[in-house]
């Protein structure tokens, strides 16, 4: 059992959980994720490690409520437990000295971007950050990102904060500007990462993305997370989750990620029904 030490709401549907998991906290590196199972009937879902405190023995998870399991996670309070947390999984981000790195976070993807941007900054890179969100209230970790970036730009779809538009609008401006860009990290919804890849493709700037895929075990056993990268089948859980954006078949992955949509709706409706009784329960 993994006790929840602290929770905080970052945005209307986005919650931060600080969970006690000392072994994972000691070993976490930027780019790692964990598999989490909330309760005995629960599914295993991958969640990126946003942060960790090796001395305090805690890890930080930032979760957006989009389905049953994430909704349950977001409803948890300090003092409650997660049944299973395993990790740190995935190949950590290679932290090289690139020069100027543009770090792009879309929505809750900013939580996954944060440890990478911080590690890249500590590695001596100049970090130019773009945070994108649908609207102002969904912009998360702005302060944290400012602390590890040389400059931060914000775009919102509705213009309620920062520039009205998409992260790619800001990225195009960077690329057209006088300062060189040596690498791009983009983490967010698949359409956003695909759009970033097409913006940087003509100039060939190294572009890395972190993929969210279907996963059961997270350790290379199921193959549910298979993605086509450069024409080869790769497993996101062990070969990734980060890949060269210019090589990823995003369209295929977007289709694959729709496999369980109907099931997700059924599970979510069940959760809602129980909510009518006043309590959030899994069944």
């Amino acid at each position: 059992m993994y006790p929840i030490i602290h929770t905080s709401v970052l945005a209307p549907t986005i919650t931060r959980l600080v969970v006690r998991a000392p072994y994972i906290a000691r070993k976490r590196k930027a780019g790692n994720f964990v598999m989490v199972r909330v309760d005995d009937h629960g599914e295993r879902i991958p969640l990126t490690l946003a942060d960790s405190d090796p001395e305090g023995g805690t890890i930080t998870l930032i979760i957006q409520a989009v389905g049953k399991t994430t909704r349950l996670l977001c409803s948890k309070n300090a003092g409650e437990f997660l049944l299973d947390v395993v990790g740190p999984l995935g190949t950590p981000t290679p932290i090289g000295l690139h020069g100027t790195v543009v770090c792009i976070g879309g929505g809750v993807g900013t939580a996954e971007l944060y440890p990478i941007a911080r590690a890249l900054k500590e590695g001596g890179n100049t970090i130019r950050t773009i945070i994108g969100a649908r609207s102002r209230d969904l912009v998360i970790l702005e302060e944290e990102m400012r602390a590890c970036s040389d400059d931060v730009f914000i775009t919102t779809d509705d213009g309620s904060y920062g520039r009205k538009g998409f992260v790619t609008d800001q990225l195009r401006d960077f690329l057209a500007g006088p300062a060189p860009v040596h690498a791009v990290y983009a983490i967010g919804p698949l359409p956003m990462m695909k759009a970033v890849a097409s913006v940087t493709r003509p100039s060939g700037i190294a572009t890395l993305v972190s993929l969210n895929t279907i996963m059961v075990d997270g350790t290379g056993m199921c193959g549910g997370c298979r993605v086509t990268v450069g024409g080869q089948m790769r497993f996101a859980c062990v070969d990734g989750p980060e890949f060269d954006a210019h090589q990823v078949d995003f369209d295929e992955l977007m289709m694959r990620n729709r496999t369980y949509l109907e099931f997700e709706r059924t599970a979510d409706e069940r959760l809602h029904r129980c909510r009518l009784t006043g309590e959030v329960r899994s069944a």
Partner: protein
């Protein structure tokens, strides 16, 4: 050697091999209850009486872990079932599991003298009976543990190799900790073998008995990630490590259409059902997407498990697509027979060439090719050769690939100096020792895909070798 059986050998040979009680095929094709109910006490008594009590029993030599089969059958004859199971346990700590999933027909029973002219003694079913008897009547007693030793050994993986190694080392007095990556114990016994062949309750009881020896089990711990092998040997204070992480990484055929929704590796499909309870969605959160028509590719035990599972969770038509003939199938005869009884269609001498999908990325069919058998290949099996122009479309909504697994790469990739061989298996010598001092390996990790009992043999041998190695330092 006193013979305990009152019957003369000629009388024993007149007794017919007893058949186990089995659930009706039509009924069982829709439930997850165990197919074989094993023997009742009457069948057990008759079957045990068939044993000729050979002076030099071949059966023990045919058993990978060397169970004293004659001795346990004599105890069965005396109705000392607890004595019998304890006799087995001296050589094999998982009798209730082996009595169910061991391929006895190619091991102890294959060499049974009675089998030369008649049918062999049903050793596996007798083993199962005594193990179940002990379990049912709660008669397990923890075996004697040798004097406590100072050294601690880490066992990586809680499948058959890891559990066996842990049990043997614990009996010798060593402190043993098992580290399991998943949230539940058992490895392939948990995520791979379905409930209808090996009930999870049996696995849970056997696991408790390993814990009763003082073995600690930590789940949710991925060696290589949560801690490396070097850290286990260093700051964690273990004197030796036994690696038994199995062969859990699926292989895919590499044909077009494998990314479509509705294509699974057998591992993913079985893990969803067995480990995550997907057949009880939405009571359990993990779904499995299964069409009315399912094709499983392969001819091994995993293919049989996948196709029989798909039938049980609602496939109206479940077929097996195998490129050779029935004779070359690597699956156990009993499993093939059970699959046939349950209405599984066998498309033999057939190989898939591509998987077809619709605009929504969902599987609509699989193009296959007829095959014919040519000359034997390096495995000794006749090579399957495609028949030109024989392509046809099999209409299915789900495709499950069960064409083999290879070792998970995490431990190898994170342990410097650990020698590996073909397909990522960890190289070991005849002592199960790897290229790293103090690091031993066995089971499918070192074999690349074999049976539960061979994994257990490796675990047992490794335990003895680890003890030798620790004492010789």
């Amino acid at each position: 050697m006193t013979r305990l059986n009152p019957l003369k050998p000629s009388e024993r040979m007149k007794l017919l091999r007893q058949l186990p009680l089995e659930q009706d095929p039509v009924e069982r094709a829709h439930n997850f209850d165990e197919v074989s109910q094993g023997f009742d006490i009457e069948r057990t008594t008759v079957e045990a009486a068939r044993c000729l009590e050979c002076k030099e029993p071949l059966c023990t030599a045919g058993c990978p872990v060397g169970v004293d089969i004659r001795a346990f059958i004599q105890l069965v004859l005396q109705k000392d079932y607890v004595g019998a199971v304890n006799k087995i346990r001296e050589a094999n700590y998982l009798p209730a599991i082996c009595g169910r999933v061991c391929p006895q027909e190619t091991q102890c029973e294959e060499v049974c003298v009675l089998g030369k002219k008649l049918t062999p003694v049903a050793i596996g079913k007798l083993e199962r009976f005594v193990a179940d008897f002990e379990m049912k009547h709660n008669l397990f007693a923890v075996p004697a543990i040798a004097g406590r030793r100072a050294e601690r050994v880490a066992v990586v993986g809680s499948g058959p190799a890891g559990l066996t190694c842990a049990a043997e080392l614990a009996k010798m007095g060593y402190g043993v900790s098992i580290f399991e990556a998943l949230h539940a114990v058992g490895g392939v016994l948990r995520y791979g073998i379905p409930e209808f062949r090996l009930p999870k309750e049996i696995l849970d009881v056997e696991t408790e008995r390993i814990k009763a020896l003082g073995v600690e089990i930590t789940t949710n711990f991925v060696v290589g990630r949560t801690a490396t092998v070097d850290e286990m040997l260093g700051e964690w204070g273990f004197s030796a490590v036994f690696l038994a992480t199995g062969a859990g990484t699926p292989t895919f055929m590499g044909i077009p259409g494998e990314s479509l929704s509705g294509v699974y590796s057998a591992n993913e499909f079985l893990t969803r059902v067995n480990l995550m309870g997907a057949y009880r969605f939405p009571e359990y959160d993990t779904p499995v997407r299964l069409g009315k028509r399912v094709a499983v590719i392969g001819g091994g035990n995993t293919a049989m498990d996948a196709v029989r599972t798909s039938r049980r969770i609602g496939a109206e038509k479940a077929c097996l697509v195998y490129r050779r003939s029935r004779q070359e199938m690597p699956a156990r005869e009993e499993e093939i027979h059970h699959a046939e009884e349950e209405g599984i269609e066998f498309l033999l001498l057939t190989a898939p060439t591509r998987i077809l999908g619709d605009a929504g990325n969902c599987v609509t069919g699989m193009e296959c090719q007829r095959m014919t058998l040519g000359e034997p290949d390096e495995s000794g099996r006749r090579r399957a050769v495609a028949v030109e122009g024989s392509e046809f479309i099999l209409e299915v909504e789900t495709v499950i690939e069960a064409i083999g697994q290879k070792p998970n790469p995490i431990v190898q990739a994170t342990t410097p100096g650990l020698g590996t061989g073909k397909r990522g298996v960890v190289s070991v010598d005849e002592r199960q020792a790897t290229s790293r001092p103090g690091v031993f390996a066995g089971g499918d990790l070192a074999r690349g895909g074999a049976t539960v009992i061979l994994a257990m043999r490796d675990g047992k041998r490794a335990a003895a070798e680890i003890a030798d190695w620790l004492q010789s330092r």
